[in-house]
Amino acid sequence: MVPKTFTVEEGWEYLKNNGILKLIRILEGRSEPSFTIAESMMLYTTVYNMCNQHPRPDNSEKVYKKYQEVFEEYIIPKVLPSIKEKHGEIMLMELVKRWVNHKIMIRWLSRFFEYLSRSYLVKKLDFSSLEELGVKHFRNLVYLEVGRNAIDVVITLINKEREGQQIDRGLLKNVSDFFIEIGSVCINCYEMDFEALMLQDTSEYYSRKASKWIVEDSCPDYMLKAEECLKRERDRVFHYMHPSTEKKLVEKVQHELLMVKSKQLLEKECSGFCALLREEKVEDLSRMYRLYHEIPQGLENIASIYKEHITGEGTALVKEAEDAATNQDASKVGVQEQVLIRKITKLLDKYVAQVNDLFSNHSLFNKALKEAFEVFCNKTVAGRSSAELLAASCDNILHKGGNESDEDIEETLEKVVKLLAFIYDKDLFAEFYRKKLARRLLFDRGANEDHEKSILSKMKQQCGGLFTSKMEGMVTDIILAREYQTKSVEYLRSNSNANPGIDFSVTVLTSGFWPTYKSFNLSLPTEMAKCVQVFKDFYDTQTKHRRLTWIYSLGTCNINAKFETKTIELIVSTYQAAALVLFNSSDRLSFSEIRTQLNLTDDDLVRLLHSLSCAKYKILKKDPNTKTISPTDNFEFNYKFTDRMRRIKIPVPPVDERKKVIEAVDKDRRYTIDAAIVRIMKSRKVLELQKLVIECVEQLSNMFKPDIKLIKKRIEDLITRDFLERDQDNPSMFKYLA
């Protein structure tokens, strides 16, 4: 029986004998029945009474202290030694057992002393709760003493498992939980002590392994091992560590195995990244991507090697073509170049697919691909720029006469246009393309309009509407020209006196869209001159405010030549026809006479006469009969000429316009850069040179890549023209002059 009033000491005796010692006996595993409800209640009441002694002041503080002493008196003599006397795994097991016991102890004691929680501790908010105190004592008295040892044992066991031995995972889980629980009321023991040491040890472990494996294993094998290690470590965490450890542990392993040795691994002689690419080892490459993908900046090295690899392959192709071109004659050079373009498109397909399949279309690899292609797609081959080659390639595909199906052509066009993205001199390409487009539209009868439109829309998608606007205009012109032609035929039919007596057709072009052509005042034969006049009259009825300029150099003429043995139809240019018709009224004409009558330049006349007298078909006889034209030559109609065909085409070899095209583009570029600089400076008012250059290059990236020298030159010019001035105080800044 409990007296109502008693001293703290008396109360404590009761508590000790009936509560604490009994509890300890239970914990020590001696056969002892558990506490009944009545017993618990008594103990609770005892505590209550101890605290509320009349008229003594509140003894709660004393009781609170006593509570703590319970732990100390049990742990120090009993618990701690029992752990310390053991070693290794056994020690861990003892530790876990003692901790479990301790938790039970806390639970029961908190129940007995609950009154403190309800009264005393309510007022003392910054005092630890009973539960917290219990844990703290275990930490201070046990953990601080044996914790380090425990951690060391755990690490040893982990390493044992890494080497392939079986360990007691359950035990480790319990130890891990112990660290977590112990750390919950004070410093984070799990993270700061256990985890930190474990991670450090892990780094050392894998560093050793990495150094060994990198020497012994091939790249694929090493990667397999790395993958396996990562898998196992994750598994390890899952089974006996806190989930938050996974990320940190994986990072350490990745760092030691993959990043530290990354250079050696990727550059391994026969099995490294390049070798894997060459041999197209899909699985290994995928693994490499998977492994490095998770690591921040892990892919950068790989991407840069990838870029080098692609650049190497592309450059080799270019060199191949260059070598082939120098070894062959001029006529075959064109074929070599087309072969090159096809090979490059194939290369592009291959690597685009690879980036997609193996590297998940990752932006780093796309960038590497783009930069690699930019390197070799801008090299010249046999003196011709890549812009020109690409335009020639398109021309080739679009020329009439090919056995490929429409779908094939579409596909090829699609691929070729993709290459355009890598070419810096897009404006040069546009210019060459326009020139060739003109020839196709004007001379290729039956050029496929659908294909022409299709390639233009693909280019538009890539480079914008401004890029293709002129070309689209050209295609539209041809369609409109046909309408005009129909109308003019109607007109002639209705005005019979206007009929010039020969069939003719006129193609009206909008000058702004087409390349510039020189127009000469060719003196036409009367019949042709009448045609021109008739059309002019018709055109005037159709529209006012428009002026026609005649480009005879682009015209063709079908002319019947009555030779001695037979009449042959000749398909010639308008110039050639004009020259031939002269011989209707004269038997023999000198070079200068022809020149005066036709009103042509010497260069053009030489080419013209050469095509008629020194080439494959000698329609005119030349005196003297040499291979070249000289201003002192004389010409006669060659009546004796004959051929088995009834109709022959006499071509005039085209002038090499490359230089002119490049000059025209260069000139345009100067204006374009000027405009860009002025635009930028107008909005920025004041800008540093380097920033100006960057913005300029960006703005013009769709057309071409201006180099800094050219931009500087334009700035110089703009300064002279008072658009800009240099800042007096800061010579690297430029100011816009309104």
């Binding site: 500087k712 300064i719 002279t720």
Partner: protein, 231 residues
């Protein structure tokens, strides 16, 4: 040494002491010139001026130069023009003449001649030299709306103006200008750029020259040419 000039009432004694620096001399000189001096300055002007235009023209300048025993292509004449802030090459107006001679405290040819060494020193002071260098370019723009100067003249001007200070740089740059084909004329930005170049860039290694910076392109090309020559 002048006697104290105390003819103007109310004006303090203006004789500079023997210890005063040339700067003080000029400072006090430019703020005070007596009417007699001004008269003499004007008279001197008209002795060289062209009767019809009332300006000193090239002929007059040549006469002045010979009187001073200085060649008319001498840089000191350019310095004189700078001091006068003369606008038109080969001509001095009355206002300009007055301005210059007043500042130099010269009212006779002899005094003017004697003032030249001091003038040289004054021009060579860094703060003044930039101004003088810039002036030299403007002075050679003879046509209205002219912005640039032909290579030949620039070479002469460089030699005249910078030759003493940066002999080597000028010699090499002049050689470059004469051999290259990209530029037929030089504009003010390039002119000023060259002076900055001489001051900032180590010669002849150009180790601190960076063509990516905002130097005028002609200097980029010059450095390239020099480095090619040296290798």
């Amino acid at each position: 040494m002048r006697r104290s000039a105390s003819r103007k009432t109310g004006q303090p004694n203006s004789t500079p002491s023997l210890n005063s620096s040339p700067a003080d001399l000029f400072r006090s000189a430019s703020s005070k010139a007596t009417t007699k001096e001004l008269e003499r300055i004007d008279a001197l002007y008209y002795s060289y001026a062209n009767g019809s235009s009332a300006m000193i023209d090239p002929e007059g300048i040549e006469a002045l130069c010979s009187d001073m025993e200085v060649d008319h292509t001498d840089v000191r004449i350019l310095m004189l023009a700078w001091k006068m802030k003369a606008e038109k090459q080969g001509y001095f107006s009355l206002e300009e003449w007055r301005r210059g001679l007043k500042a130099l405290r010269a009212d006779t040819v002899n005094k003017l001649k004697k003032a030249l060494p001091e003038l040289e020193k004054e021009v060579k002071r860094p703060t003044n030299f930039v101004d003088f260098y810039s002036y030299a370019f403007r002075y050679c723009l003879t046509e209205e709306k002219q912005k640039s100067i032909d290579i030949e003249s620039i070479c002469e001007l460089l030699d005249l103006v910078l030759g003493s200070q940066f002999r080597e740089q000028v010699d090499f740059f002049v050689e470059y200008l004469k051999t290259q084909n990209d530029y037929k004329v030089i504009n003010n930005d390039q002119w000023m750029g060259f002076y900055r170049f001489c001051n900032e860039i180590s010669f002849p290694d150009f180790s601190n020259y960076d063509p990516e910076l905002a130097w005028p392109l002609i200097l980029d090309n010059f450095v390239e040419w020099m480095l090619a020559k040296q290798s």
